[in-house]
């Protein structure tokens, strides 16, 4: 259907749609333009109401039929009329809809109303129309007959299977499959060529037989296709269906197909055999199945696992050493599902010594292995197994997280073996296992290993989010602790970031012990996460006797200031100014200038401008000033340029003094010169 007068359609539609707003809806539908939807919506609502309350139905049906009969009605209007008649299921509209089938422009929209019409006359009328239809019109009618399952239409469709128009011939094959009467099946079986299309049509006919209570006939059709289908897709689909209606026959055909050279067939055979094989067959077949290629063995083993077929356990055990990694993973899953607690030693070995995905699969299987027997087997191995097995199980215990698992992890944290302790601590932290603080603190304070101490510190920090009172426990442990331990406790408090921890860190900044003091200043300057320690850090930067401490404190001061985005800009600049005043080296002043870049207020520019007078700061100050003086993009937002006397002064200085021509040029450009 060629449609070319689009602008005209649009113009006329809009004009008429507006002008006719109050008129009879059917008159307006005749001029519907594809976008003034008001009338379509009104009629849709009316049609739906009439389905609940039929008094208005005849009027609606008559109105819509009148639209279809009107030669001046638009295509859009007629299309909607057909759609609405379809909703109505109107029997009286059949004649007019059949009439539209004769015109290529309206044949499709006519079928909208006919395809689901409850009228018993539709099929006969369609067959009459089919006699004179050609091309797509004929195909459409055939499709509708097929979709309606019109058994009476089979004789009319049979000769079309060999129609010279391939489109019509194919449509007839598909429709006969949907109709699925004995005569239709006979014709399809006798049809040569198009093996995929015909094969699928026959399967569809088989589906109709199966659903209609004729499983034996369906099985015969499926088995024929499963054995003799010329297309692997048909053989596969037939075998799948056969399993549903005749498992014994499916097993026999499937067993033979397990070694088929066509991988699709072999894979499906594995899938089907897994579903239909009885236990005795599985037991008897395992030796032969061990030799199957992965393409058949994987679905076979996975399918047997899914139905919990214990006789398949030896198959899983042998597949554990397969070259194919995905098959090994399948074997691990099978072993865990079918073996349960008995599989624990093997799974632990794989989790400890396996590689890649196989190892990971064993880990996950152990984490998810259910039942009290499994619990006991895992705990037994974790207590008495080889070191590699114990190490592998620590994370698994943490993930399982039962009471006994946690108890064993707690014991492992106190193990004599440093590697076990470290891994146990890491597992507890990684899997967020709440742990008794006393155990962790004892480990931290008693160990001589730096590695264990650091692991214990991290675990305590993680524990603080899970166990109330962790911060208090750490603080209580501070007093009696030796300085190196105290240092690591302070580090933990800095990472936790609580109020009481801050108090302790503040006290420790004044400690006479170098380890403790260093830990406190490092914790605040390099670890702490908010602005609360700013006054203390600035005071330390100004007054501490040790230069290293002063510098470290000031750097921490600027770090925290830089990440404190909620502070008002003026306050921030004032604090930067205080920090610069305390700075003894250009490096810290440069750090301060970096913070100013993100503080777009005139006061920031004033500081940058002042810094331009210090040759050691000139380059960084110029960079900051140019950044502030220009408009910046940040995400979707545009940050305005900082303007004012300080900006002009800074840009003039840069334009005059910069040694880099690019920098100088940027300044001049911003000055507009």
């Amino acid at each position: 259907m060629k449609r070319t007068l689009f602008p005209l359609i649009t113009l006329v539609g809009w004009l008429t749609g507006t002008a006719c707003a109050q008129e009879d809806p059917f008159a307006r539908l005749k001029t519907y333009d594809f976008q003034q939807r008001q009338v379509v919506e009104e009629l849709r609502v009316e049609v739906q109401k009439s389905l609940a309350e039929p008094t208005n139905r005849a009027r609606l049906e008559d109105g819509l039929i009148a639209v279809l009969r009107d030669p001046t009605a638009t295509f859009a209007g007629k299309q909607e009329a057909c759609h609405l008649l379809r909703m109505l299921g109107a029997e009286r509209s059949v004649a007019v809809l059949i009439g539209l089938l004769g015109d290529e422009r309206t044949a499709d929209i006519a079928r909208y109303g006919l395809e689901s019409s409850p009228s018993p006359t539709v099929a006969k009328s369609l067959m009459t129309a089919l006699k004179t239809a050609r091309g797509k019109r004929a195909v459409g009618i055939i499709n509708t007959l097929g979709n309606r399952g019109a058994a009476d239409a089979a004789p009319a469709l049979v000769p079309l299977v060999t129609h010279p128009d391939r489109m019509i011939a194919d449509a007839a094959v598909v429709a006969l499959g949907k109709i699925g009467t004995p005569s239709a099946i006979a014709v399809l079986r006798a049809t040569e060529g198009r093996p995929l299309l015909v094969g699928q049509a026959l399967l569809r006919a088989g589906d109709r037989l199966a659903a209609g209570g004729k499983p034996v006939q369906a099985a015969e059709l499926y088995a024929f296709q499963a054995k003799r289908g010329r297309e692997s897709a048909v053989r596969v689909a037939a075998l799948r269906r056969l399993a549903s209606v005749d498992p014994k026959q499916a097993l026999a055909i499937g067993q033979n197909a397990l070694t088929a050279s066509d991988e699709r067939v072999a894979a499906t055979a594995g899938n089907v055999v897994a579903t239909v094989a009885d236990r005795a067959t599985v037991r008897k077949s395992v030796p032969a199945w061990r030799k199957l290629p992965p393409v058949a063995l994987m679905p076979l083993l996975a399918g047997l696992t899914a139905r919990r077929e214990a006789a398949a356990l030896p198959l899983a055990e042998s597949a554990l050493t397969a070259e194919n990694e995905l098959l090994r993973v399948t074997a691990v899953q099978a072993l865990a599902t079918l073996g349960g607690a008995k599989a624990v030693p093997t799974l632990v070995t794989v989790a400890a010594t396996g590689q890649g995905e196989t190892k990971q699969a064993a880990r996950v299987a152990l984490v998810q292995l259910p039942g009290a027997d499994a619990d006991a087997a895992i705990l037994r191995t974790a207590k008495t197994g080889e070191k590699s097995a114990r190490l592998a199980l620590l994370g698994i215990l943490a993930e399982r997280g039962t009471g006994e698992d946690v108890a064993l992890l707690t014991a492992s944290v106190a193990d004599a073996d440093e590697t076990i302790v470290t891994e146990a601590l890491k597992a507890v932290e990684r899997h967020r296992v709440p742990m008794e603080n006393g155990v962790l603190l004892r480990t931290l304070t008693d160990t001589s290993s730096e590695t264990v101490r650091e692991a214990a510190q991290s675990t305590l920090v993680a524990n603080a989010r899970l166990v109330p009172g962790t911060e208090d426990a750490l603080i209580a442990a501070l007093e009696p602790a030796a300085p190196p331990v105290k240092a690591i406790l302070l580090g933990a408090l800095a990472r936790i970031g609580g109020d009481r921890g801050l108090t302790e860190l503040s006290k420790a900044v004044g400690s006479s012990d170098a380890d403790v003091k260093t830990a406190a200043i490092t914790g605040l300057a390099e670890t702490w996460g908010d602005a609360r320690p700013l006054p203390l850090l600035l005071a330390t930067a100004k007054t501490d006797a040790g230069k290293t401490y002063r510098i470290q404190a000031l750097r921490g001061y600027f770090r925290l200031l830089g990440q404190e985005e909620r502070m008002p800009p003026a306050e921030r600049v004032a604090k930067v100014k205080d920090g610069i005043a305390a700075a003894e080296r250009p490096e810290e002043k440069q750090q301060a200038l970096g913070i100013l870049r993100e503080t777009r207020v005139p006061e920031a520019m004033e500081l940058a401008n002042a810094a331009l007078d210090d040759p050691a700061l000139f380059d960084v100050a110029a960079d900051t000033a140019l950044y502030l003086a220009a408009e910046q993009k940040k995400g979707d937002a545009t940050l305005p340029a900082v303007k004012g006397p300080a900006t002009l002064a800074a840009l003039n200085k840069i334009a005059q003094k910069a040694t880099d021509d690019t920098v100088k040029g940027q300044a001049r450009k911003l000055l507009g010169s």
Binding site: M1, R3, T4, F6, P7, T10, F34, Q35, R37, E41, R44, Q48, L51, A52, A76, Q79, M87, G89, D108, R111, E115, S116, K136, R137, V139, G140, N143, A171, L196, D207, A211, G213, A233, V236, A237, R240, A243, S244, V245, D246, A267, N271, V272, M298, A302, G303, A306, N324, L326, T330, Q333, E357, Q360, A361, Q368, E399, R400, T402, R432, L466
Partner: protein, 434 residues
């Protein structure tokens, strides 16, 4: 002879479900599959044809190009520009000119050397190529929502089972940890008995008057319209915007029901069922070509009395994302990048060894490829996707009819409502059919 007893269509299909779709006890899926690059047997390489090369199609193709054991061998689109760009991208990736470009998906599906297709066409173009591909023995990675109408979804789900194919839907949120965690918490009863579920989806918008015109020469518009009702071309019709037109998509509601509605079902273990009562209202534009509901609010009642509200976010307080509410007032909410609960301590909980563990996905595309090799079900088989999409289809019908509908999720029929029943399917223009 069979000893299975009388068989009707539904039990026949249910038995088919049992073939290879059993639930494995251990949800482990490897992040890499057969072999490593350089020693991959040809039979272990999955050849892929991509149909629909717009936004999602390109994204999915990129994902497959990035896998070591796949080979994208063909691309297909009715827009010559999309097609050219896709072919060029594939050829650049493999440093050759081997990728074949097709304007007609039937030619691509006729190839014997393609194992799986990636299908990312507009909704009205899902069912025909999907069913044909599965009839041809191909596996499918298909975009959500799986279907344009409920009957098409049923046809696709049946085609997957009957043909023994693997299907993964682009409902990729199931492969993301926070969604899995939320669903595990719900499944394991952490909020007690669930009484209400809220699914918040985006709000739609109408479109201004358009200017109809000839389609651009690079677009085969007749093919693009395909089985759907014909409407004249305009710039607001095809690429991307098809979503807002009921003849080609289903509005924001259908565009997202396969995400947050799908997650709601996953959390409840409702992958094979649906609601029993549906009612609601929607605001359908009265002008312009975008006719899908812009705002909407409908309620689905499930067996056991659980209510699911689906609405555009903000409508009567519904929050975007998926929220399950328990009888004691505890709740879990999840969205992209967000997971929240009341009480918040629930977020620290995990599934123990004797509880439900949902699949830990190695990535949505990877999980599909592994399933292609093991022939085990994916996270989102066609049946699952069909049930998720059904929420939206049923809600749409309820809003369009303005009636409370009663639904049988086993037979998938309305009770005593032939008018609503006729809306379950959409007739196709010739020559297209399922």
């Amino acid at each position: 002879m069979t000893d299975l007893g009388p068989i009707n269509r539904r039990s026949f299909l249910n038995r088919l479900v049992g073939v290879g779709t059993g639930t494995a006890l251990f949800h482990i899926v490897p992040a890499s599959a057969l072999g490593r690059a350089g020693r991959l047997a040809p039979s272990n390489r999955i050849t892929i044809g991509c149909i629909g090369m717009g936004g999602m199609g390109n994204g999915n193709m990129d994902a497959f190009l990035g896998q070591p054991d796949t080979r994208v061998v063909a691309v297909c689109d009715v827009d010559k520009n999309h097609l050219r760009d896709a072919k060029n991208k594939v050829d650049r990736h493999y440093n050759n000119k081997d990728c074949t470009a097709y304007a007609d998906f039937r030619e691509l599906l006729a190839r014997k050397d393609i194992d799986a297709i990636s299908l990312a066409t507009p909704d009205h173009w899902h069912a025909v190529p999907a069913v044909l591909a599965m009839n041809h023995g191909m596996d499918v990675y298909g975009e959500k929502p799986i279907s344009h109408c409920l009957a098409e979804g049923r046809a696709m789900a049946d085609a997957q089972k009957k043909n023994g194919r693997i299907w993964q839907t682009g409902s990729w949120q199931r492969s993301v940890d926070n969604f899995r965690q939320a669903c595990e918490l719900v499944r394991n009863g952490r909020i007690g008995k669930v009484v209400r579920i809220e699914v918040g989806l985006p709000t739609g918008r109408p479109c201004d008057p358009v200017q109809f015109k000839e389609a651009p020469p690079e677009l085969d518009y007749e093919f693009w319209v395909g089985p759907a009702r014909w409407h004249p071309y305009c710039d607001q019709r095809a690429h991307w915007n098809w979503r807002w037109q009921l003849d080609y998509g289903g509005g924001q509601m259908m565009d997202w029901i396969g995400h947050h509605g799908d997650i709601a079902h996953w959390g409840m273990g409702w992958d094979h069922t649906g609601p029993i009562e549906i009612e609601g209202t929607g605001e359908y534009p009265k002008q312009g070509i975008w006719d899908a509901a812009t705002t909407y609010y409908f309620t689905c009642k499930y067996p056991g009395g659980v209510e699911m509200i689906v609405a555009n976010g903000g409508n009567r307080g519904i929050r975007g994302g998926t929220k399950w509410i328990g009888e004691n007032g505890h709740w879990i909410w999840v969205d992209r990048g967000g997971l929240d609960a009341n009480p918040r301590s629930l977020l620290e909980e995990k599934a123990g060894p004797n509880e439900v563990h949902l699949l830990r996905s190695p990535g949505h595309h990877r999980e599909f490829l592994n399933a292609v090799k093991t022939r085990q079900p994916t996270l989102t088989p066609a049946e699952t996707a069909h049930r998720s999409a059904s929420i939206g289809h049923l809600g749409q019908i309820a809003m369009l009819t303005g009636r409370k509908l009663r639904w049988n999720p086993v037979t998938e029929t309305f009770l005593d409502d032939p008018g609503a029943s006729r809306m379950l399917s959409t007739p196709m223009r010739a020559p297209w059919h399922l």
